[in-house]
Every structure is written in structure tokens, then in C-alpha cells.
């Protein structure tokens, strides 16, 4: 059986994408020429490739969903899709994939959207190099850029997502790869995991979101080589960890976030080779976080390096560089001879009593911080970095 190519344009046999789809068979290619196609509710039920030439526009006229894919091995490539309908009862998307495998959605430009790309019980597919620009202002009447629900083995790579609710959202989705994406100005989170395990997040940039990455109720995650910056606001975070077990957060750069990482009830997390630069808090550990390793990170010029809840410590701090460290190194091995205590008394007090933050940068606070540093009384006395580095660590980012 040979596959054929159906061409869609104003003066062709097929004037609409829908009519071409009706005529197509499995394995065919539909080539859409430049132009404006006012179509909504396009249902793709055959394994076809729909390819746009010169970025043809599909205008949904705010009638609801625009493309719905219900077949395996479908490719959508090179369209400018806009005007998805807004609804408070149905989650309309520009492109939705339902119960399918092996899809490829690439080089799309999505604007005026509610949900962008919505994957639902889809697996083994790719979402590549799309540019999604929303106009989200509030959480309740906006959708997510890339939304994944019960999806496995999907690759989300090279997308540029701006001004939506959650840049990329995963729920009950495992073994996915999120790589080389850029999210900016998400109203809620840049990347959001709920009950999603074994996912990898690599080489992404998250900028100016409500929170850069929110990991919730998940396990075995890897977060490597990301840049998380300027998530700045009274309730903003770089990474939010809640009920996460066995995650690796390695080689990331956190710059100018109000709170770079906030952790709650998360165990066996490895924080290694990260750079924390000019954040309000670098690491804020709330209750019930045990057996975490915080090693070989750079903590540079954060207002607070660490805020810690509770009187005892069962996490390991070792071999980090702290810009506030004032010790000396007599044997010249690059490791300070005096252990470093990353908790300031003030951050301990603020943790107990949030009101006290109003005394930030008061002379009195500097004095008590100093005295606590000299002889710790309140902060957990085993919370120390025994081997603080003397020099900033040059991370090997390729590893």
C-alpha cells in the first residue's frame, strides 16, 4: 500500500483540513499551504501526518477545541493555532491527544489559548519546539501550556511557554523527559508534577514564574542542569518540593529567587553541585525532611542560606562553599578548618515567629546572629558543614 499526499489550499481540491482528513487513509500526509483556515473541532482519527507549509493559521474562532487526535502515530507540524474557546466546565485545548501512542506535535505556535497542548492517556510521543504564548492573569480562568494526564514516555523538548497558568503540567505521568524548555511568567508554576514518578527534567530555564518547578507527591525524580531564576514575589519559589522521595537535584543554577528551594516532608533528596546565587532564602526546609544530602553546592550572597524547622537534624551538609564563611585553612587543602553553621539565629526565629521578619537588617539582629555564631544555643548543634570549601566550586556541568 502506498501512502499519498493530500494538499490543502484555497485553490486546491481540498479547501479545508477537515475535508482532507475525511479523504485520507492511514499513513497519508496532508500538506497544508499558507493561508488562514477557520476551523475548529478537527478530529484526527487516522494515522496521518498533517504538515503546515509557511505557518498556515488555524483560527478556532473561540468555538472550543481545535484539533483532537484520537489515533496512533499522528504528526502535527508547523501551524499557527489561535483562538481556543474559554470554558469553565470543559478544558478546551488547541491540540488534544486522547488515548494515542507515537504522536509528534512540533513547531506549532499557539496563541489566545485556554489549554495549549493537552495529552490525555497518551504515551511514547513527542512535543517539540512549540511556542505557546497565553494571556493568563488569574489562576481560575486560565489553562496550562502543556498538560499531561496519565501519560508515559513522552518527550517534551525545546518548547517556549509564556504567560499561562502552569507552563508544563504532569499528573499521574511517569517516565517522561522534560528537556530544553523555557517557561516565562507562568501565573502559577513553570513546571508542575503531581503524583508523577521517574521523570527527568534537564536543561530547562524557568524565569519569573509563581514558582519555577513544583514537585508534589512524586518519587524518583531527576532535576539536572536547569536554570531557575527571578521567581520573585512574596509567595514565589524556585523549586517547591512537597512529599517527594528519592529525588536528585543536581547541577542547577538558582538565581534571584525569593526562596530558591522550599522543602516539606521530602526524604532522601540529593542536592549536589547547585549554585544558589542572590536568593532571599537558598534552602528552606520545613518539617519532616530526613536523610537528605546537601553536598558540593555554592551558596553565594543569599540573605539566608538555610532556614530549618525543628531542633534536630538528620540531613547531611558537607563540602559546600558558603560565601558567608569566615574560617581559615591552615593546611591549605581547600577545606576550611572550622566547621560552618549555615543557620543564622534570625532565620530560626523567623521560622518560629514569622512576624519577627520585620526586624530584618536591624543592628540588634546582627548582634544576636554574631553571638549565636560564636556559641550556638538555639540552632541544632549538629547542623554543621564540617568541610566547608574555601573557594567557590567550579562544577562540571557535563557530568
Amino acid at each position: 500500500m502506498f501512502s499519498k499526499t493530500l494538499i490543502v489550499c484555497d485553490s486546491c481540491e481540498y479547501k479545508t483540513i477537515k475535508s482532507a482528513l475525511e479523504a485520507a487513509q492511514d499513513g497519508d500526509t496532508i500538506l497544508v499551504k499558507e493561508g488562514i483556515y477557520k476551523e475548529a473541532n478537527i478530529k484526527v482519527t487516522k494515522s496521518v501526518s498533517i504538515i503546515g507549509e509557511g505557518m498556515p493559521v488555524i483560527d478556532g474562532n473561540e468555538e472550543g477545541e481545535i484539533i483532537t487526535i484520537g489515533a496512533d502515530n499522528v504528526t502535527i507540524d508547523g501551524f499557527f493555532i489561535k483562538n481556543v474557546g474559554l470554558s469553565y466546565t470543559t478544558e478546551y485545548a488547541a491540540v488534544r491527544v486522547v488515548n494515542s501512542k507515537g504522536f509528534t506535535i512540533q513547531n506549532l505556535k499557539l496563541e489566545k489559548l485556554f489549554f495549549g497542548i493537552y495529552l490525555q492517556r497518551a504515551s511514547h510521543g513527542k512535543v517539540l519546539n512549540n511556542k505557546i504564548t497565553g494571556e493568563a492573569v488569574t489562576e481560575f480562568n486560565s489553562g496550562n501550556g502543556v498538560h499531561m494526564w496519565h501519560c508515559d514516555f513522552v518527550e517534551v523538548r525545546g518548547n517556549d511557554v509564556r504567560n499561562v497558568r502552569d507552563g508544563i503540567y504532569l499528573e499521574f505521568s511517569s517516565n517522561n523527559t522534560i528537556e530544553d524548555n523555557f517557561t516565562l511568567n507562568s501565573v502559577r508554576y513553570g513546571l508542575h508534577f503531581m503524583f508523577s514518578h521517574d521523570n527527568k527534567v534537564r536543561n530547562n530555564v524557568f524565569e519569573s514564574n509563581g514558582a519555577g518547578i513544583a514537585l508534589m507527591f512524586s518519587k524518583d525524580m531527576e532535576v539536572n542542569n536547569n536554570v531557575i531564576k527571578k521567581n520573585w514575589g512574596t509567595a514565589s519559589y524556585g523549586i517547591l518540593l512537597k512529599e517527594i522521595n528519592d529525588a536528585k537535584i543536581i547541577n542547577n543554577e538558582f538565581r534571584e529567587n525569593t526562596i530558591a528551594i522550599t522543602v516539606e516532608g521530602s526524604n532522601r533528596i540529593e542536592y549536589m553541585h547547585n549554585d544558589f546565587i542572590s536568593n532571599g532564602y537558598a534552602l528552606r526546609m520545613r518539617g519532616a525532611s530526613y536523610d537528605c544530602k546537601i553536598m558540593h553546592n555554592n551558596f553565594l550572597y543569599n540573605s539566608f542560606d538555610l532556614s530549618y524547622h525543628g531542633p534536630m537534624n538528620r540531613n547531611v551538609f558537607d563540602g559546600n562553599y558558603w560565601s558567608d564563611y569566615t574560617g581559615y585553612d591552615l593546611d591549605k587543602d581547600g577545606i576550611g578548618d572550622v566547621p560552618y553553621r549555615p543557620i543564622k539565629l534570625f532565620s530560626y526565629i523567623v521560622n518560629r515567629n514569622a512576624q519577627a521578619i520585620i526586624l530584618l537588617r536591624s543592628l540588634f539582629i546582627d548582634i544576636i546572629d554574631f553571638s549565636e555564631k560564636v556559641s550556638p544555643i538555639f540552632t541544632p548543634d549538629n547542623l554543621v558543614d564540617e568541610n566547608p570549601r574555601m573557594k567557590r566550586i567550579a562544577h562540571d556541568k557535563d557530568s
Partner: protein, 260 residues
């Protein structure tokens, strides 16, 4: 009064201390700007210096000037001049010259750096206003202390104590009460506590203007809501003015009744 103000002012303008003070701020401004290259960070560091150093220098310098010019004051008292004019004139002379050193010393490097073309201009102006208020407040307190204590050592002691109390101990008590009463809603209390202390008030006013205010979280939001309104801003400037006016009133009253 104006004549005495003018005399005190010119006297101080000629003195070495004013120059040292002026040069100190000039140097601080230059070093901060050229080592830092970041106007916002420079404003934060300046804030730390201003809320600590300006009150200290205002107090010490005020007391020093009062005791040192005592003989001249006695000479003036023998003349047919109103007492209040003498002391208020001296006070305003000292405070104005200190304020000039601060404003000009910090202003020059910042103007050359281009603060007028920067977003930080309002932060910077607020910083200078706070510094000016603190100078007037603490110099006035110093004069009150000088007037009520014949003994120089005692006077100096009290002056240092007043500075220590407002700059350090007050915050300690504030913090203790926050912790002690943590089960109660403390928003209004902490607003009040901040409003009552000019050092804290200046610190919070400046902090809220800076990026760093995001760190303040919920508490910051409460303060923002209060100080962000015209009402809050006016109230805080009224409080600062009261802090100048009350000691000035005491200077007037004590000088009228005092037996020299």
C-alpha cells in the same frame, strides 16, 4: 534666633569635624558605587549605615557641641536675647550642618553616578529624607540631655544610652515581646512598635521600597498595605516630625526654666 543659627552653622561649617563627616560620606558613596556598580545594592548598604551611624553621630556630636560651646552660651545668656532663641538656634545650626554633610556627601557621588536617570531615585531620596530626620531627632535628643545634665560624663553616658536603646535594645524588647505573645495576633502591635521608634520606622520605610521586601512575606504584606497608602506615609512622616518636635519643645522648656 536666626542669627545664632547662622553663627552656629558657620562655626560648624568651618570646623574640622564637619569636613571629616562630609568626607566620610563622600568616600562611602564613591566606594559603594564604584565597587558595587549596582545602585539597588548600594542603597541597601547605605541604609544599614544610615540607620546605625546617623543617629550615633547626631547624638555624640550634639552633646559634644553643647558642652564645648558652654562658655560662649553663658556669654550669650548675659545679652538681652531670648533663651529659647539661643538654644534652639544652636540646635538647628548643629543639626542643619550635620544634615548638609550627609546630603551633600552622599548626593555628589550619586548624582555623578546618574541617580537622576535611574529608577532608584525615589529610594535614594527617601534614604536622604530618613537620614535628615534621624539627624534632627537625635541632635535634639542630645541637646535635651545636655541641658538637663551639668555633668559632662553623665551627659555623654545618657546620650550613648539613648542611642543604644533606640537602635538596639528597643528591637530586642520588640523581638522578645513578639516571641512571648506569639499566640496572639500581633499585626497591629508590630505596626505600632515600628511607628514609635524612629530608627525602626526609617528602616522599614526604606526596606519596603526595595526588592528585598518580598522576603518579608505575610508580615511585609501587612506593612505594605499600611505604608503603601498615603495615610500610612503621612502618618509615618508625622511620627518622625513628632520625634523632632517633642525634644525641640523640651529644649525650649528646659532652657526657659533652667538656672545657669
Amino acid at each position: 534666633m536666626l542669627k545664632i543659627l547662622k553663627y552656629s552653622f558657620y562655626d560648624l561649617m568651618r570646623s574640622r569635624w564637619s569636613y571629616v563627616y562630609f568626607l566620610f560620606y563622600l568616600l562611602l558613596g564613591v566606594v559603594l558605587l564604584f565597587l558595587n556598580n549596582d545602585l539597588n545594592k548600594a542603597v541597601i548598604t547605605l541604609m544599614n549605615v544610615i540607620i546605625m551611624l546617623v543617629p550615633l553621630i547626631g547624638t555624640i556630636f550634639g552633646v559634644m557641641y553643647y558642652y564645648n560651646s558652654r562658655e560662649f552660651t553663658e556669654l550669650l545668656l548675659a545679652q538681652p536675647i531670648k533663651r529659647s532663641s539661643i538654644f534652639l538656634g544652636q540646635y538647628l545650626g548643629v543639626a542643619t550642618s550635620l544634615m548638609m554633610s550627609l546630603v551633600v556627601g552622599l548626593g555628589i557621588p550619586f548624582v555623578f553616578y546618574g541617580v537622576f536617570y535611574s529608577d532608584a531615585i525615589w529610594d535614594f531620596i527617601l534614604l536622604l529624607i530618613a537620614g535628615a530626620f534621624l539627624t534632627f531627632i537625635f541632635t535634639a535628643l542630645a541637646f535635651v540631655i545636655g541641658l538637663s545634665n551639668e555633668n559632662r560624663i553623665k551627659g555623654f553616658g545618657y546620650a550613648i544610652l539613648v542611642w543604644l536603646f533606640l537602635a538596639v535594645i528597643y528591637d530586642g524588647i520588640f523581638l522578645m515581646s513578639l516571641i512571648y505573645f506569639e499566640d496572639y495576633p500581633l499585626d497591629t502591635f508590630s505596626l505600632g512598635a515600628v511607628l514609635l521608634n524612629p530608627v525602626d520606622l526609617s528602616r522599614v520605610l526604606i526596606l519596603l521600597k526595595l526588592d528585598i521586601s518580598a522576603l518579608l512575606g505575610y508580615t511585609g504584606a501587612v506593612f505594605h498595605k499600611f505604608f503603601g497608602t498615603n495615610m500610612g506615609l503621612i502618618l509615618s512622616f508625622v511620627m518622625l516630625t513628632v520625634w523632632v518636635a517633642v525634644p525641640a519643645f523640651f529644649i525650649w522648656r528646659i532652657s526657659k526654666r533652667k538656672d545657669f
